[in-house]
Subunit: 68 residues, 12 copies
């Protein structure tokens, strides 16, 4: 593992369910075009309010993946 | 939307259920006296411990709403 | 309460369930050897990705407890 | 001046003109209902993009004013 | 306590005496119009210099109070 | 909007005109190869000095765009 | 001094007197069980409000001490 | 360029015109007594409010210059 | 006041008395060689421990003064 | 140089040799697919421990390169 | 790995050799009394100056280890 | 030591050798015109890339020295 290089990208996932699910959405999207996804870090949790309730969560995450 | 001004207030919501629910509690309270709630940003997540379990979550959020 | 001193330690809890549960895991572990656990503060939320899904959450928390 | 207390509120001003003008919009709005506005501090500068150009600036400012 | 919501406001207290007294001034002022003041957090300590001495301290504090 | 995922990239725009124009330059460049540019956030404002004047502004911005 | 290793712990001291005294309380407590206490760093100053006055200060400090 | 050492000083420039002009004022002042001014970094943007308008901008900048 | 430029320097004042006095010591020293001292901002509060008590406070402050 | 736009990416380089070498590894990898690499900024230095020694360094760096 | 809890401690290692070696010194010390050391994070790099040279480096690191 | 005042300046040292050496370069330069250099703190580590390798390191350090 010591000789690998990882790239870290930043995505914002959205979910009407939960803040955890918003992270899952971002990871699922990243996995459609990238390989070797390895870890995530939550950068910011926010969201929109609709009718005095959380309309959807927006979680900004960094996602790290190994470069070949 | 470009000519609006928004005010941002800071609330701490509590919940025995989940950190997400603590956000909902803060928003619901804000909605009792304010109109046009638009977005929230999580500032800090903490809570009290009771009997070696989470007694309740306390989530500090900024809530933005449009001024008329 | 004004004449107490509290110690604050830092733990990383893991969970395959949710970020909230990862906090619970850290608190439960701390409770095995420490008394008077009083509050927690989330420092960092991250986790590992397995198969383009969240493998497990890792939440770094500070836990405060009263010294006798 | 040493015996005054100031309140600090947070507003987000918008402008299609410039980031400086977005600050002016927030201050003008605050001035409609508050007296003794004294200073501002820029907290965050962001904005929306429309057609690959800045649609409008959104500047979050803290505004301090003297309490009577 | 788990079902309460708190509001957090930001004030700047001034004092010619000490930085601690500047906090007291801010709290005293807040208490004139708000109920259930619960805690404070120091955000910033600064002040003006007069004749190569501290003219007065200015301490920016967040003050949390319970909403009914 | 709740089921979208956004990517956030970081660019540094330069301009001899103004700090606002440096943001525009970064957005214009991003728009040459990306679709659905949605928002920007200013990360850092700096620049080079030439002959005791601002030679050019360099503004580091995050730019968010919707993934298809 | 160059070949020593120091451990840094985090305590919260409380005092009804002053923020400085809250630091002293934390250090005194640490000194009951640890040797070679060397320096402190203030991390956070906060406190509880009782009757619109400071009930007690709570100062979070890091305390460094030399390991034998 | 690799064997140079730079000094970085901090100035606050003021301007009734714009935040960009406040940076220029700080640089112009620095240039009266220093040589080889090379770059600036904006640290903080604030200002005074007069009559519900921006009275003047105050921009705190770091200015780097090469030591001979 | 709008056309002035201020320089900001960083000093560490020490005191066996109090954290406030450590600020005074730094300002007094600055005043021996500089004119027009205008404001201070506390950057960091720390100190040395001697015999399980605060030996002396060390407060890092930024001091702003007007350039002629 | 004033009319260029730069992109900034984030990589994590690993090395069993040194923290400086971990930066080199990240840059070398970036250079395999990108042109005009211009500067780097260290974001975070960490690493794994194996047998009570540093197994390998992991340095997160931002790398800036000019867009054509 | 998902059901482990880790403790994170903070040490300051010193070295006359290099900043990397100061990290090694901290880890070696931690390894004398703790098992399962897993990772480190550099928090702060500083040091003392002797005769206009670096006398020794002092690197503050967080060290994470698995609790049994 | 308790009655001393220290000044803290900020320099950027450069080196083609290592990040540690860049610190030494800054300190050596400071030592040419200042006495009683006492400690340094690393603020930022960055550098230029030449030919997909580190051309030179640029380390921004704060240097503290005792005022007479």
């Amino acid at each position: 593992m010591s000789d690998h290089v990882y790239k870290v990208i930043e995505l914002v996932g959205s979910s009407t369910q939960s803040s955890d699910d918003a992270i899952e959405q971002a990871i699922a999207k990243a996995g459609q075009s990238l390989h070797h996804l390895d870890w995530f870090e939550v950068v910011e949790t926010r969201g929109h309010i609709v009718g005095n309730k959380i309309g959807h969560y927006q979680v900004k995450v960094k996602i790290g993946f190994r470069l070949d």
